[in-house]
């Protein structure tokens, strides 16, 4: 994963002062909340900084709130830190040797970086779908049942129910119900990605993180996933990272624009795409760079 380097020459000036002002705790979040634009937050990030090597900070002092049962999109050019930020929510960055994280992330008021918290229980509450669909080389059934089995569900009838519910939620049930024992790798790319969504949903998470879920899919499969996101947002909080700005505009309620490890602007998607406050956001959205 490429990391934004604050020391690199910038293609346009970023005003440190402006960014900090927009992102500060009192600034944006409260402003949004007071305007009634931000319902209650399920995840709140405070002054989060992250470095992979102790020298360059891939995330710098990020603060934002993710609203419950809404779709929030992270946009920004490659290497801006949007995937890194996403992977902080389920602590997948912990796997990397030498990573340093400062700041705080609360999930429903509980600090997820609390050493007393079992990271596995966090990950059951915060599911994730990856950029490249990654079904396990097992049967479709076993893929969906993977998470519930970890939690100790062994009862076949119970598992059958969970699998069906997961696949239905991911709009895949009708396509695969007759071949649940087939290898998951025999599915098409779009089906595989929906299977991964079903697999994540089978654990019944509260938050679903999606890291560029459509970047490897054709337009039809993409449309299906986007429709699915719309359907799911009533029950789940969804955070989606995307390169595709039309997609962000289509699926999300809120959009955060990250650039070089900083949160440049965060607000209701309509506003970001029609009337951004920051010039950088506007430049990016209109395609002047990125």
């Amino acid at each position: 994963m490429k990391v934004g380097n604050p020391g690199a020459t910038l293609s346009f000036p970023v005003s440190d002062r402006v960014v900090r002002e927009r992102v500060s705790e009192e600034g944006l979040t409260q402003a949004l909340a007071s305007r009634g634009e931000l319902p209650d937050a399920i995840l709140s990030v405070r002054n989060l900084s992250l470095s992979y090597d102790g020298q360059h900070w891939a995330l710098q002092d990020i603060s934002l709130d993710i609203p419950r049962h809404r779709v929030t999109a992270f946009i920004g050019p490659s290497g801006c830190g949007k995937s890194t930020l996403l992977r902080c929510f389920n602590r997948l960055n912990d796997l990397i040797d030498g990573v340093q994280i400062r700041g705080m992330i609360n999930l429903d008021g509980m600090n997820i970086y609390d050493p007393r918290l079992a990271v596995t229980s966090l990950r059951k509450r915060v599911g994730m779908v990856f950029q490249r669909s990654n079904p396990f080389p097992k049967s479709i059934y076993d893929n969906v049942a993977y998470g519930p089995r970890l939690s100790g569900s062994r009862n076949r009838r119970e598992l059958d129910e969970i699998v069906e519910r997961g696949l239905r939620a991911a709009a895949l049930w009708d396509e695969v119900k007759d071949r649940l024992d087939d290898n998951a790798l025999s599915l098409s790319g779009g089906q595989q990605q929906r299977l991964c969504i079903a697999r994540a949903l089978a654990v019944e998470p509260e938050v679903l993180l999606m890291d560029e879920p459509c970047s490897a899919l054709d337009p039809i499969a993409t449309a299906k996933i986007e429709a699915l996101i719309h359907e799911l947002k009533g029950r789940y909080t969804i955070v989606v990272v995307t390169h595709n700005m039309q997609q962000a505009a289509r699926v999300s309620d809120y959009t955060a624009f990250l650039y070089l490890g900083r949160l440049v602007e965060y607000g209701a998607t309509d506003k970001i795409f029609t009337n951004p406050d920051q010039k950088e956001t506007e430049d990016y959205i209109t395609g002047r760079f990125g």
């Binding site: 059951k124 990856f130 396990f136 080389p137 993977y146 970890l150 290898n183 790798l185 025999s186 599915l187």
Partner: protein, 538 residues
């Protein structure tokens, strides 16, 4: 112009293709040599009668032809032919060299006979008579041949009965006596109740009596079997009487049809793979060696795979990557370069003397000073080979673990799996084909290894297989035979190297075939796992 040729890379392609071609040619040549020599072993060759100008007569198979300088006139060459004349008990040498210009006539007598015997190897000659208790029941070549043909199957059955009596019944009694003696010794060691000891002693006496009885029956059968005798005449005119029970097979090679020869070929081949060795391994079959080789490779695989996989898992998944782990990795790779005999010495010192000695003193004290595990055996030989091949498995498994896509690990972790659950459910199954690759390489290396076995449990002739009908059925402490060692022993340690040469080729081919077969099995299993992992991958 010239530089264009170089730049095009064509000469390099030729060079590369040439290198590959040479390697393939050499491998192909080796296999061709082994296969042609080995498959010819069982073909019944014709018997040729050579009459020399001196009046000497030789009957045998014509072998190699060689040109050597004439001792009197160094400018001319004399052609000599090698003749296998057999009759080892009569003429002391199996082979003679005859100068070609000494030969007065070559004929193929139709009634010349080849007799395969239990002892002393083949006999070439003519059948003269068949006698019972000294009284002839058939005279002349033709009539005797008819009688012999009729009697040989009965004789084979008789031989089988004697063998069964000897090995099964007598063997069983021997085994029970041995167990009883050990029981007695255990009582003596413990020093408790004299009543029980007395009971055991009586049982031993009863067994002794039973043994005497069976032994007497065996002796009677053997005497009975000696009654019928076939009388042969050799090319040099000597007469030789052979008890029929000694005759394994007799045939007239010069008047056999091709179909008969094919049948004989198959019979001899079957005897080779299923029979027991005779005549200090130079004749008969190699079944105990096949069994020992396969069992050893299987035990080795059972030991090396879990051990190697666990070591690789720790190295790759759990150990903190740094100089220490790199050092360990280098050490593991270098282990593969240690001469195998060094592993043998280690096996002898560690497994046999230390571990085996301790096991003996704890569990088999009553058998001491005769060692049970404190001497070479199939278990220790297999473990020594496992040690020898474990680097291969570690390296292959590590590579396979490294090749498991990160997405799979993250996918599992993101669902709330612990690292252990991820490794068990996702990483290991994906790495299984790589583990099999390691196993295949380990088997290929282990099956062909001989040096370390020679000091950890291989013997020239094992009295019994490591698997039999006595509890616990699999006797891991027993010494065993091995095809690789068999090749060395027959080819270089037997008293009659020239006669054993065909055996060496046949055994080599068999060993190569077994290695190929074991590997194909593993490759087949790996392909099935791969198919499951990548079904419908696009």
């Amino acid at each position: 112009m010239q530089s264009r040729v170089w730049k095009s890379g064509d000469p390099f392609i030729w060079l590369a293709a040439g290198a590959l071609g040479t390697a393939l040619l050499m491998i192909g040549g080796l296999f061709w040599l082994i296969i042609t020599r080995a498959l010819g072993v069982f073909w019944p060759a014709e018997l040729v009668l050579l009459e020399l100008r001196t009046g000497e007569r030789f009957l045998g198979h014509i072998g190699a032809v060689e040109a050597s300088p004439d001792p009197e006139n160094s400018k001319t060459l004399v052609r000599r032919i090698q003749v296998q004349v057999a009759n080892r008990d009569l003429s002391s040498a199996d082979f003679v060299w005859i100068d070609e210009d000494q030969i007065a006539s070559r004929t193929r007598p139709t009634d010349a006979i080849v007799v395969e015997r239990q002892e002393w190897g083949n006999l070439f000659g003519w059948l003269v008579a068949v006698t019972e208790d000294g009284e002839p029941i058939a005279q002349g070549s033709e009539q005797s041949w008819q009688v012999l043909q009729q009697m040989l199957p009965q004789v084979a059955a008789q031989r089988g009965r004697i063998r069964r009596l000897e090995q099964r019944q007598l063997g069983d009694i021997n085994y029970r006596m041995e167990q009883t003696r050990l029981e007695m010794k255990r009582y003596e060691l413990r020093g408790d109740d004299a009543g029980a000891l007395q009971g055991v002693r009586e049982r031993l006496t009863r067994l002794q009596a039973e043994y005497e009885q069976v032994y007497a029956r065996l002796e009677a059968m053997k005497r009975e079997a000696q009654r019928t005798v076939a009388v042969f005449q050799t090319a040099s005119g000597q007469e030789k009487s052979v008890p029929l029970v000694q005759v394994v097979r007799a045939y007239w090679p010069n008047q056999m049809s091709t179909w008969q020869k094919v049948r004989l070929y198959c019979a001899k081949f079957w005897e080779f793979v299923s029979g027991e060795p005779r005549e200090s391994n130079t004749e008969g079959g190699v079944f105990p060696a096949i069994f020992g080789t396969v069992l050893m490779v299987l035990i080795m695989s059972c030991a090396v795979v879990p051990f190697g996989v666990l070591a690789a898992l720790y190295l790759r998944e759990y150990a903190r990557q740094g100089p220490a782990v790199r050092l360990v990795r280098i050490a593991v790779n270098n282990l593969a370069g240690v001469p195998s005999i060094v592993f043998g010495v280690f096996g002898l010192g560690f497994f046999i003397y230390s571990v085996g000695g301790s096991i003996d003193s704890w569990l088999f004290a009553e058998r001491l000073p005769t060692p049970t595990f404190g001497t070479g055996g199939i278990l220790w030989a297999s473990l020594t080979l496992a040690l020898l091949t474990v680097p291969v498995v570690i390296v292959a498994t590590e590579e396979a673990l490294a090749a498991v896509p990160r997405e799979h690990r993250e996918g599992s972790l993101a669902l709330g799996a612990t690292k252990y659950e991820t490794i068990r459910n996702v990483v290991l199954p994906s790495a299984l084909p790589g583990v099999f690759t390691g196993l295949i390489l380990a088997m290929a290396r282990g099956a062909g290894e001989v040096a370390p076995l020679m000091i950890t449990g291989v013997v020239k002739l094992a009295p019994s297989l490591p698997l039999d009908h006595h509890w616990p059925y699999l006797h891991l402490d027993r010494k065993f035979m091995h095809l690789g060692f068999h090749i060395y022993d027959v080819g270089f340690q037997s008293p009659n190297v020239e006669a054993a040469k065909p055996m060496v080729y046949a055994t080599t081919l068999l060993l190569v075939s077994i290695v190929v077969f074991l590997n194909l099995t593993a490759i087949f299993l790996r392909a099935r796992i791969r198919k499951r992992l990548h079904a419908g991958a696009f």
